[in-house]
Symmetry: C2
Subunit: 226 residues, 2 copies
């Protein structure tokens, strides 16, 4: 009973902080995307390529990077010219809404632009933590096997979009993309699934189009409430 | 302060249960190996091949499988003829020593044999939880990138052995095994590192030899305390 009470307390506190973040993002018209996956799914490589593509199209960008340790990922992001702040979670296995609040105090969200949050590589912990984002994107690489949505259903259930990454490796593997897609649909019939390769750029037009259309629908509060 | 107190309470409770498990394993001369990794590193495939190899050499075997959901992995293990019990952690991201105790009530450990525990796919949570095992083995696949030991140091710091899996895919990737090994050594100078492919069987002789020699050193309490 005690452990449950503590958990409810933590989640309620996170929910309050997430609501404050969400209000702020709406006020400043920042479109916020929370990227989640296993370690090694290619999240950072995907994000670097995404930022490079988005930079050529204009628009303000920023990144919050989550990791247990190191600033390796933030360093990779900054090399693209996009500002990035690193949050180290130490023993923790996910970002929470208060960490985002503190990161925004160091590096303000890009008003009218897009903020990407790269969560700690983990298919369990980040699923339950609302950060105040507009969209949750789960990246699953083809090297991880088709069964992951069934084994980690909480994560796939909260995804707005599942990006199947590293599709350039399919030929070298025994991996069936159709089975993965069917397994995603079993735990989350509403999720969009797109195939990409962060290495070759395959599928990026569809991913960037998804971002653009999601932003149009989600971000401009003024447009929805005239 | 409160969160820290709760964490200490949980860890102390786990430590007591782990000590009971360890006593039992020593009494029954069961060699216990805790396998940990990211989701999709090939843990189950590696375990299946390992069991098949060990079966031909004699010796009693059993498996405890941890996953958030599904009995997919236990089903794969049982197909080898080795008994397996599945523990579903629900919202939890790791096995703990009490879960092992309850699993042993359903399926006793193989006296004089080897028990493999396949932990929940996660590079953070399982690191801190002693299950009463003799050895902790961390599996890192070559598709995950060389930086994982630095980004998830707690996990790699507790490893007795790091198995670098999927080495058959190195040719298709930009991956440098030497860099991964150097990064393992930075967080854990004592860990042994072996390269394997669960798909092709490459490197399995060395892995099975490591198991055999670890068992000789660790398991027979009578031999150490005459």
């Amino acid at each position: 009973m005690r452990r449950i009470a503590v958990e409810q307390d933590i989640m309620a506190k996170n929910g309050r902080a997430a609501a404050l973040n969400r209000d702020r993002f709406a006020r400043e018209r920042t479109f916020v995307v929370n990227l989640m996956s296993s370690p090694g799914s290619g999240k950072t490589t995907l994000l670097v390529r995404t930022l490079q593509e988005l930079k050529t199209r204009g628009g303000r960008l920023a990144v919050i990077e989550g990791d247990q340790q190191t600033t390796l990922d933030a360093d990779r992001i900054r090399a693209t010219g996009v500002p990035a702040v690193q949050v180290n979670t130490g023993k923790g296995c996910h970002l929470d809404a208060e960490m985002i609040m503190r990161a925004l105090a160091k590096q303000p969200a890009p008003a009218g632009g897009t903020l990407f949050i790269e969560n700690v590589g983990n298919l369990v912990c980040p699923a339950g933590f609302d950060l105040g984002e507009a969209k949750k994107v789960v990246i699953a690489s083809v090297t991880e096997g088709e069964d992951k949505p069934l084994k980690y259903p909480d994560m796939f259930a909260v995804a707005d979009l599942v990006l199947v990454n590293k599709v350039d490796l399919v030929a070298a593997l025994e991996f069936d993309v159709a089975t993965l897609k069917a397994n995603v649909k079993r735990v989350n019939p509403k999720a969009t699934v797109l195939e990409v390769s962060a290495r070759t750029g395959a599928g990026f037009e569809a991913w960037l189009a998804w971002l653009s259309s999601s932003r149009t629908v989600t971000a401009p509060v003024e447009a929805r409430v005239p």
